[in-house]
Symmetry: none
Subunit: 215 residues, 4 copies
DNA sequence: CATGAATGAGAATTCATTCAT
DNA sequence: GATGAATGAATTCTCATTCAT
């Protein structure tokens, strides 16, 4: 066989697979999971659509893969922060920055996670609810630790409060994802994100009320 | 003959139409918009397949109708509270209670709104983004008014803060909708809702930090 | 019965019925039989569409009615000409004028006949083929009579020739119906029709060849 | 194992596509475009339902394809004759024979063209009206050239006369297609066609009138 | 590994027709 | 006669998934 070209045909295996996952993220972000066609994903990845079925059992498994492979890494980073020795405020700032940062670096990924994975029945499925639940748990743990250290009020239920923190953050992110929160063009984007992060944590920690600090 | 009770028959003309909308809410809540079949809705409503198309142009229009006819009423109630003469705290408690209450009275409606309408392309459509935006705006107005009255810190941007408030609330509601927030069986459900409402408003106003009050 | 108003409620019966037929002609001309909805016809007639089924068994029967009630009258007029004592040329001019005239007076009717009734399987249905056939037969009779009188060449088969005459005419009419034959704006419409009629008969009688007359 | 004869399998890639087109012609000829179901076409072609949509966007596109792919070839043959150096009579005989011959060789194709494509809105669509118009134009050109050469009377408008020629021919073809023109069983079919062709051209050139030649 | 032709279950939608009022 | 709500069969079209090459 004269097929001895020097083409770098190595790591072909996971190369294509990753391209499929990346393409799926783009397409899911653009069209949503249900509207996305497997052929769209293949076209975006530049491969034949039959190949998708070499790497994935079906369309749903792509979504699961996005979730498991990418979310898990993200989650571990969050849990690292949650279980670090810092103060509650430091931890919340860290988690908030991480989430907002993810949105800046890879908004499509966040969009898919926020709009597709979390929703639908998947949210309620054991495997994933546990995975999503880990985020809530991490935040709840931060709060509980804070209570133990006297940094967080003891009269609040951390298992409820964590929903407020994660949900508040998520909606801000959603607003950014959907371009509903308008970014003042007079300020650099990165500055705006800093401002948002500061606002978010400030509200969670010190609250909206004027008297809470002034008294 | 006990036939005298089966008699009323078609009374309000839009009797069937309402039954379709109600059925759609149930089915959408159960299966999600995409998975829901028109035939499911018809079966749930106890009417024939084609009648759905007598009243609605297509499946999507049912979703829009749910949104327009029911969300608008809800929104007006929220705006009434926002524009009432009460204190910021009273208003936030009012709005929070209203949202949590809606979830208690008609959880399917909230589920459809939270999981279906808000998502999909609809969230981004002018008409509806504006309608959804009205909720955010109403909360932002409450905060701005509070700033003017000195009840809310002046150093926070209400247009960002409103996302945190609405989002925090929404996620709590979602948690309740999806039964992820477990309700301690030792307490009555209604008591639990009160506790949740109090916690939510407390966090938004006074924050999580212990020192914010103690100092 | 106190219903003694002086409203001219007489001939109501066929009044509505005729309105349905007229409306159907318009709608069929506009959309074609298959695309035409019964509700379109009812709307055009200004009545409830259930009423259509009072007067007609189904949609097809409306088409048949148009055919039978209107075509028959037209056909009798043609047959009258065919069986009149005039010369062959006079008869052909008469028939041609009648067809072109019908198109001027009621183009929708002609359009429906040309495009809908004659086509489709109906052309082949016994009842109608006979009725359509009567037109061909009438023309064939004119030609046969002409042969007997020595006005028409005896070497032509009238049963084939009649197709050429009717078909040539019909296509001219179709061209007019579809506005494919453009009418020179410099001449009045009525003059144009006269010119067309003259051309048609002239061709049928004397042919296209220059030498046929010149010799 | 007798499997060696079932082997050929997919050869030309567009093998199936052509089978769909051929099947569609048969089904359209049998049932008409509107009555024809896509499933009928698939069954006739011996392929799966969905494959039709692999090759064609929708049912209408099949009709368009029949038109474009087959009509164009036919048209070019007609135009070749029209633009050849022969006499007017030779050209008309050539075109007539071509049309009658097409009907003998592939009556279904002619039937679909005559009954389906030409009708419906298609006749009025720019692209196709132009294509159909090319047939009329070709005949008009033959007549105009004949006038220039003194073979055709100069007092006739070729733009009207061409409708008569094409239309006369078409109706004869339609009569044959629909078996309304009965073929005398005493003569061979091919002879009959010759007779029809001769009659048609004879009428167009020399006309029906006895005196046109006798004088 | 790759390809994309082939399959067919599913779902939406249309609309002629019936029927209770 | 008149109305239009109600019915549901019929069809088109989509697209995930399989499979032969």
């Amino acid at each position: 066989m004269p097929k001895s070209e020097t083409k770098p045909k190595s790591r072909t295996r996971s190369d294509k697979r990753n391209r499929i996952v990346d393409a799926a993220i783009s397409v899911f972000a653009r069209s949503g999971f249900h509207r996305a066609r497997v052929s769209d994903i293949a076209a975006e990845a530049g491969i034949a659509y039959g190949l998708v079925y070499h790497y994935f059992k079906n369309k749903e498994e792509i979504l699961n893969t996005i979730f498991e492979e990418r979310w898990t890494g993200f989650l571990e980073a969050v849990e690292n922060i949650a279980d670090s020795p810092g103060s509650t405020e430091e931890k919340l700032v860290g988690i908030t920055s991480m989430i907002l940062g993810a949105n800046r670096v890879n908004p499509e990924w966040v969009k898919v996670f926020v709009l597709e994975i979390q929703r639908s029945s998947r949210f309620a499925e054991p495997g994933q609810i546990r995975a999503v639940g880990r985020l809530f748990s991490a935040v709840a743990r931060v709060l509980r630790d804070g209570q133990a250290k006297g940094e967080v009020r003891g009269d609040l239920d951390p298992d409820i409060a964590c929903y407020i923190v994660v949900g508040g953050l998520e909606t801000v992110v959603t607003g950014l994802v959907l371009d509903v929160i308008e970014i003042d063009s007079s300020q650099a984007e990165s500055e705006y994100y800093s401002k948002v992060a500061a606002t978010v944590v400030e509200i969670f920690l010190r609250g909206l009320a004027a008297d809470s600090r002034d008294q």
